[in-house]
């Protein structure tokens, strides 16, 4: 285990982390996901040794890190604002960590120049950092962090200040860094897209509480509670009880709705059901429904553009959301007030057991 938090609680002014336990394995690209102000950066800074926990233990390589200062942890940290030193040029920024390690001038020059070359920024070697573009600053910050060969790289929302094109390029850079160099990376973000693209494991933190920690696939398929599901962008969330099961075919009663799903859970299990809006098709009421599909009748109450798609809100006793292309909206002749049927396959329904334990964040 590379990084481990054991029941870490930490108070910083008005803000607090509560009883956080998490594990980052060697080679993980570990994401800490959460809304702004959830305490993600504090977790990162606690790993780096910039905050000491009030209680609990932070372990690195199985070793208790209490009283080990940041400079002795062999961890590099890149902040969202890059935090380049404005009184040093690019070369001296990147060389900073090597100077602290008292490397020889010759070695510093060779290593720094190699690193700048690797990231394709040799041409800005002697530039003042304040004159650099966002993408260049990001690369310099990464060079500075990597040149000291850290065991862990901590990234605090590294892509949030970038334009979409640079962001896509940089996701590629980070992906290569993880895949090719096998570096253990912990990244903090509120972007689901980045997490989906890069993460191997995810921890979801909300209001200072760890809500869920699992593989990326598990977290996105089975959010532990509706709050996490909503944060992860699941549009349709139902709460119900599994009432009938034959093989993997299950029926779940959620209020007045009877929903077909695939599950191996026993009958009587209380569950949350998550259905992505992209998995929901919307058909005119008159159209024939394929047998075996869930079909819920309702009235369209809202149409909103959602990127290249349209987000349709349907009142079916409970609100239902679907994402359709402009062509689909046009061909089904959907407008506000149209009577429609929302359809989705049983395998589009993700069932998660509703635990009887209260949600961590409700303990506040």
């Amino acid at each position: 285990m590379m990084i481990e938090f054991e029941n870490v609680s930490l108070t910083l002014g008005q803000f607090a982390l509560h009883d956080i336990s998490l594990k980052v394995n060697e080679g993980d690209y570990y994401f800490i996901l959460g809304p702004s102000g959830a305490g993600k950066t504090v977790v990162l800074e606690a790993v780096a040794g910039l905050h000491q926990p009030d209680s609990g233990t932070v372990l690195l390589r199985g070793e208790d890190m209490q009283n080990i200062p940041p400079e002795k942890r062999n961890i590099s940290l890149v902040y969202q604002d890059y935090s380049l030193f404005p009184h040093m040029d690019v070369f001296n920024n990147v060389a900073f960590g090597l100077k602290m390690r008292k490397k020889s001038k010759h070695e510093i020059k060779t290593v720094v120049d190699d690193m700048l070359h690797h990231f394709g920024i040799s041409h800005i070697r002697n530039r003042a950092t304040l004159t650099l573009s966002g993408g260049e600053q990001q690369r310099v910050a990464l060079c500075r962090a990597l040149v000291v060969e850290p065991e862990f790289l901590l990234l605090d929302e590294p892509l949030s200040a970038m334009d979409p094109l640079t962001k896509d390029q940089f996701i590629g850079v980070l992906h290569d860094l993880h895949q090719e160099q096998g570096l253990t990376i912990v990244e903090v973000t509120h972007s689901r897209r980045e997490a989906k693209a890069l993460a191997t494991h995810i921890a979801v933190i909300m209001d200072g509480y760890l809500e869920q920690e699992d593989t990326t696939q598990r977290v996105f398929e089975c959010p532990v509670n509706p709050e996490v599901a909503t944060f992860l962008g699941v549009e349709n969330i139902f709460e119900g009880v599994l009432t009938e099961r034959k093989g993997d075919d299950a029926l779940v009663q959620a209020g007045n709705l009877l929903i077909q799903a695939l599950s191996d859970l026993p009958t009587g299990t209380p569950v949350y059901m998550y259905v992505r809006a992209i998995s929901v098709a919307v058909k005119p009421k008159t159209e024939k429904i394929r047998p075996g599909q869930n079909a819920i009748a309702g009235t369209v109450t809202m149409l909103l553009p959602h990127g290249d798609l349209w987000k349709i809100t349907i009142d079916a006793g409970v609100p239902l959301y679907a994402l359709l292309s402009a062509d689909e909206v046009k061909s089904a002749d959907i407008t506000i007030g149209t009577e429609v049927v929302a359809c989705f396959d049983p395998d589009a329904v993700h069932l998660c057991v509703k635990t009887s334990e209260p949600l961590p964040s409700s303990n506040k």
Binding site: E71, Y79, F85, P86
Partner: protein, 272 residues
């Protein structure tokens, strides 16, 4: 395509603010003009006074003592400013009030406080007197009086500078292998150099302008303000005004040069 030419006149609000602001400038300019007029009308007397060894000696003594106070402030004030800028702790408000106290005190009170501490029988002055270090009527007395009254200006200016350096930069330096002191020395200090310079100018200016606190502990050797007072009471208005105008000219030139130099000091810290 032609764009309409905009009027170059600032709006009414700016004009009225500038006019109101001029009143305070006018007061200083009028006082200077009044003083200068008298000196120009008898330029021979003014030159004789300005080159008098007593006057030159007092000016040099004042400047040197002020500089000395600033150098001591740099050693003791910078660490305190850093603590106040970076840490929250119980009793911080009290510490801040103690730092600011010399600003609010009447200067005579500051003088008494300094005198009580550093006089021959004072808590600090007593033991040092035994070791041969004298504050009463001595150069060191002038330095401590200046140090006491100018410390808030220095500490608060430097603290502002430290606060402007993002803590993230310090954090990054730490993770890259710098100890807290190295991060302070290599990141925080260079990025605050402009504020330190500014604080030093303020403190120096405040120190050389001090009179009441200094005469309590060290009437002699005479700093320039003591000499002007001495001349005013014993030799009259003409003698004291000529001396006063000498120091006005000296300060004006010295501070103009320092302000000019400040343009070239640590310019990046504005954009931190």
């Amino acid at each position: 395509m032609k764009f309409p030419t905009h009027s170059r006149l600032p709006d009414a609000c700016i004009i009225s603010f500038a006019l109101i602001g001029c009143l305070i400038l006018l007061l200083t300019v009028l006082a200077l003009f009044n003083m200068a007029l008298a000196q120009v009308s008898d330029i021979g007397y003014f030159i004789a006074t300005a080159t008098d060894s007593k006057v030159v000696g007092a000016i040099l003594l004042t400047m040197a003592a002020g500089l000395n106070a600033v150098l001591i402030l740099m050693v003791v004030g910078i660490p305190l400013a850093y603590i106040l800028a970076r840490f929250e702790f119980r009793g911080k408000g009290l510490v801040e009030s103690i730092v600011d106290l010399p600003v609010m005190l009447p200067h005579t009170v500051a003088g008494i406080m300094v005198y009580l501490l550093f006089m021959r029988r004072g808590i600090i002055g007593g033991p040092l007197w035994d070791m041969g270090i004298v504050f009463e009527d001595a150069y060191l007395g002038i330095v401590v009086a200046m140090l006491f009254v100018s410390s808030p200006y220095f500490i608060n200016a430097v603290r502002d500078g430290f606060e402007k350096v993002p803590v993230h930069m310090e954090n990054v330096a730490r993770t890259l292998g710098a100890t807290r002191f190295q991060a302070f020395k290599m990141v925080v200090l260079p990025l605050s150099v402009r504020h330190i310079f500014n604080g030093s100018i303020l403190a120096w200016g405040r120190g050389i302008g001090e009179f009441a606190a200094i005469i309590m502990i060290a009437y002699y050797p005479m700093v320039i303000s003591t000499l002007i007072y001495y001349k005013f009471t014993l030799e009259g208005l003409k003698a004291s005004t000529a001396t006063a105008f000498t120091i006005v000219l000296f300060c004006f030139i010295a501070f103009a040069i320092l302000r000019y130099l400040m343009k070239f000091v640590g310019r990046y810290d504005d954009r931190v």
